[in-house]
Symmetry: D2
Subunit: 342 residues, 4 copies
């Protein structure tokens, strides 16, 4: 059994880690910390866990995280970078679900996240935890930078086009839509039900923190800098990301076959039959990314549709997928739930 | 392995049976029938099942249901009563998720359901599949009348009050609210998103088919006829039932203790601590019924709050719970999922 | 033209006052105050008002409220009672949309609202602004206690039963459901879209501040104290209240006729034809209360269904209705919008 | 007073016409027809209209439409083209809210709409009713082809870019999102609340009927054929369209100024200040189109955000705007409501 610690368990990625780990056959949840809720039953805050998780939030100071095999950070940005070094030196593997280790260019990170980085060396060591690209490095990593929710859906959608070099890489467009749980479990006016429900809007068009993360990932694959316009939108639903991706084709190729081949061996990427449209609920509560490939009206514009559950493949599920790889377990163990529909 | 057949698999109880049975370790789904969709991949209709269920809908005429160990009817009312006798005579156990075998009084059934009953003898034999009341009879039954969604939440909520005889049984009130999936996957104007969303209404106040079912169940427990006012409402959510139950107390008793004792050994009934309010999402996707007990302002009115997922404990999950009992499997096998929140 | 001031305009009752007053032919909105947003364009916060309201929030200290003809307080509880006396002495009429002047019994008010009252004398003078009961007193009032959202829907629903003395007044039950805008425009976790959407729950069952307000109103009408069980619920919709009211009949009477007669001359109370069920969207954005009357299965339990828009008839619309009465304008002026459906 | 007839009043554009016309000071609604609901009170179907519209649906055969001043067709495609000629010859002005007269190329129309056109001559005469482009022709028109909902939001968004000739017109992209009322008040499974709620998907990516309409409109303005990729999506909300438009800039120009100047005199087009993001609820129930202009990260890609209420500016409101122009009334008469928020 793997002894697991979770730091910062009161957000949506925290409860989702608990939901999934409670059903994982090789995991023992040893501790979950929360400064604000220390001493409170986890199931008091997350009522779905009553009868499944019998733990209290513990004070971080007393939580003995260094006796865990792996620690997940489900904290706001800027926390994990303070605490990771000690854990790694104690032989604990670390998976950070926040953004602290995602951007290799420290100056770029500091610009977008507005703080000084505490441990640039670990950024260099950290492996970006997108198994469909970095599976081998993940298996031996000590520290995983778990990808953001938008970047997961967008990169998996663009990947075959970029790898095969058949599109204009200067003018990629990602029009992406997210459910409101992506904004986290923070009390804010703009994500109140009375504000976000029966409404739709774009936000962050001038610039969003996931832009440099996606560009870094796609540029690595392309072998050169890519140009990307990234427009996120807020959808009045709880979970789900839908990326609608546009790229100008520079070669004539069978896109459907390209995608099916690329993802033939991937357990969590499902390429739909030609002509279909994935819906976010088809992956609700699951670690799947479903993708459809279109070339409307036979023009030279490829349209890729990519959907995930932002809390699973976009956060907690992918983190556990990474854990499975790091501990040499079957990659799908504990995260193979059937999506919930309707 | 138990060989399972499902008749009428294109509704919400059908897809929910498939979602749960796909994860059941002792079940082989042998066939699922649909007259209208015969030959179509199940996962073409229910996109969540892609990769989990690799079956086509089969024509009922060619589906060899008599070679199954158990057949679930997830059909409209009036179908199961036509086909059950042949199956039972062939040694197949039958679980009807519709209403054909729920009401013992045939005249009453025919009044509410507007058709002549095809097999009154089987109605007499059928066991009403509410395990918290009829567990013993279920284990040996050949035919189960799986309870309705409202009746499950309401009966589990009222049960301890009725059994203990401490309320005015002439004036029970059940104010019940359901998500729209309770209306089924039928194309109807009043359950369109543009009609049912951002809206709330009562319906069926003059009379609803679940009224006689609930009255029968409670009267059986009371040992005499009960008086019940039952008012259903439509909530703009997908899944979930919330029953708010009112009864006038005739004795002074500790209600919290009464409920905790009654359900101490029930895996799927969770009595919340005193003062709490259950929310429907705390049981979303699970077979749980969560109950809270109140006596506001120390008046003589008890207020019981009871929530379920109408498609699980109110339909498919309870049907599998019954199957587990009938086949001597652990009662929770395959239906112990953690609810999905948020 | 009536010069209007609004104190505390950044909540939902504030924006709703602005939406309605902007269309009122006899109103000039002179000032709207907000301590936190002073200097900001109103339409910057409430994007619907762009092009309709060309005002900035002003600092309360500089807003010269005493030069207005009438001031609406759309503030949290406890503010209006600090500022009303000065205004009234300056000859300004005051309409408080909060609870400061609703409860005549000061000790009771202080128990439920957890603070000391600043001006008990004005409580005695204040007129409870439910025109269907207190129209005459409203026309000459200097100070209006505008009713709460739940109390409006519940009192209008029960009124004919209480006035005619045909029900057991010891055991009234109000099972009431509200959209989330009723909780206000405050950043709180439990009203986030990801928390409140696709979910349903009761809250405040042990006791809710609207309980004493409703009991006071009904007891006044009954001429003796009434017994009421009041259970509020949160509905995943933005606007709307649906009250489902239960009372035990002590006399045989034609309820439909009773209600139609009682409200025949009321512009904002609509009694539906027999057998109907009102839906909240049928009053969305309007000052209407629609009511249906049932006596299911000919039992001795009356079931009354009463719906309002909590922000209009339950708050801003009713406040303007009161203003119209106080200034001798046609009662429906400026608040006769057609509800928005779908 | 203008005597108005409405053909086919049981859909969402029908009820919206009624809501708006009921408040129009120069309109008398003479008749509203419905084959299926003839003899039924309009307010029985559309409960919001109770007390505002006191009409019954009439049988089309007996409705004397030729005595009206103007007739609105709120019918499915293919009806208006059968009945328009007679009306026009009788001197009645006609406004078709369906697609019968929108596409000038008859072969193209017949390909997309799958039927033979009944009156190509009238197509040639019909004026495309987008006032911001065709105001002058509308004032003298006998027959108006009222634009589709998507085409309105997309054309108003692209218009200044196309008119000024500063973008690559071969590779325009319109990523557009619509609330479900856009699908109409038809009983269909995919728009049920339990299907469309808490879900997001694209549809019609290979081809959608609004594609040729938008291309025709933009090509007319450009003076040459444009290339457009058009991807519609279904949003779990009732009303609202959000168009996110992408175009590659070929010249350096101040986009904000361009848009502000172009729409300075338009009552129903609101260009937001620089850096803003319009939300659909900011136009809910109103005839406004709000637009924001972005050029993210100073790249050569312009991103235009354009929102409308699909039932108002995208249908009924624009139809009345056209009527006002045709009858020489102030353009905003009766359609200047403040949007409903929250």
């Amino acid at each position: 059994m793997i002894n697991v610690g979770i730091v910062g368990g009161t957000g949506y990625t925290g409860v989702e880690l608990l939901r999934l780990l409670a059903q994982h056959p090789e995991v023992n949840i040893q501790t979950i910390t929360s400064r604000s809720e220390a001493g409170i039953d986890v199931a008091e805050i997350f009522t779905n866990l009553r009868g499944h998780i019998n733990l209290k939030f513990s004070d971080p100071a007393e939580s003995k995280l260094d006796t865990c095999d792996v620690v997940f950070f489900a904290t706001p940005n800027g926390i994990a970078m303070q605490e990771t070094e000690v854990l790694i030196n104690a032989g604990v593997k670390v998976i950070d679900l926040a953004a602290d280790f995602r951007i290799k260019n420290i100056a770029e990170w500091e610009k977008w996240y507005g703080m000084q980085h505490a441990c640039p060396d670990l950024v260099a060591e950290a492996v970006y935890g997108l198994p469909e690209i970095n599976r081998t490095q993940i298996t031996t990593a000590r520290l995983i930078a778990n990808p953001g929710c938008y970047p997961t859906a967008v990169q998996l959608g663009f990947l075959p086009l970029i790898e095969s070099g058949i599109v204009d890489m200067e003018h990629l467009i990602a029009d992406v839509k997210s459910g409101v749980s992506g904004a986290g479990r923070k009390a804010e006016v703009h994500t109140l039900h009375a504000e976000a429900s029966d409404n739709f809007k774009a936000y962050g068009v001038p610039g969003h923190r996931h832009l440099p993360e996606i560009k870094q990932g796609l540029s690595n694959v392309a072998g050169k800098p890519v140009g990307l316009t990234f427009v996120p939108h807020l959808v009045p639903m709880i979970r789900g990301i839908h990326a609608t991706l546009y790229a100008k084709l520079t070669k004539d190729i069978d896109l459907q076959t390209l995608y099916e081949k690329r993802y033939a061996d991937e357990a969590f990427v499902d390429v739909l039959p030609s002509g279909k449209h994935p819906e976010t609920r088809s992956v609700r509560g699951s670690n799947l990314c479903r993708i459809a490939v279109h070339q409307p009206q036979n023009s030279d514009t490829a349209v890729i549709l990519s959907v995930t559950d932002n809390l699973v493949k976009g956060a907690a599920g992918q983190a556990i997928q990474n854990m499975n790889l790091m501990f040499n377990l079957p990659e799908t163990m504990g995260i193979n739930q059937v999506p919930l529909l309707p």
